[in-house]
Symmetry: C2
Subunit: 116 residues, 2 copies
């Protein structure tokens, strides 16, 4: 059993290709023995956003902290701590921070997609 | 795309069979089109605990709020908001609330295991 606080996980910065102010951390992945899906935590700085993109695999997201929005069918939908978001494979999506504190959410992806 | 706050999801109470003060909510599952894994949120009241048990499938857990502990190899390990826990299939585990506020965590399971 692995028990880790996200602050103790290695960080990876994402800038460019549509990403602004995004830090990712792999919390649970294949190296831990996870056979089916991986858990990452993303932190978006004030003004930060993930790329607006589409890919074949799904996301299962849970917002932990901060204020944000998700792009769905041409409009921004507010998300807050405690909001879950299911992004089916093939659907365009983007997350942005709409507050002044970091936006933090976990985002899980199936095996076979990039872990981070 | 599904966007839902956990407080708006249907609740299921778990009492007995080792569970005390446990409320579960299915946030993302097969009915939403999730093809590979399901997201549930569990809320443990003050003094609450999940059963100490073992099963074939894994858990990927992220602690959202409250104070708690997880049973690992014969001892309790503290968890806090921001802690991730990977419970491999076949490993005994139990979660308990060690604080006075609700302990809330998401717990993801692979397709083929009970969704809630």
């Amino acid at each position: 059993m692995k028990v880790v606080h996200f602050e103790d996980a290695e960080t990876k910065n994402f800038e460019g290709a549509g990403a602004t102010g995004v830090v990712g951390r792999l919390l649970i992945g294949q190296a831990d023995g996870a056979p089916n899906f991986a858990m990452r935590l993303f932190e978006l700085a004030e003004g930060g956003a993930t790329p607006r993109h589409t890919h074949a695999w799904e996301h299962e997201v849970f917002v932990h902290a901060g204020k944000g929005a998700v792009w769905r069918n041409g409009e921004w939908i507010d998300v807050a701590p405690g909001t879950a978001v299911f992004v089916p494979g093939g659907e365009e999506h983007q997350f942005c921070n709409t507050g002044s504190e970091p936006l933090r959410f976990v985002c899980l992806v199936p095996r076979g997609s990039p872990e981070l």
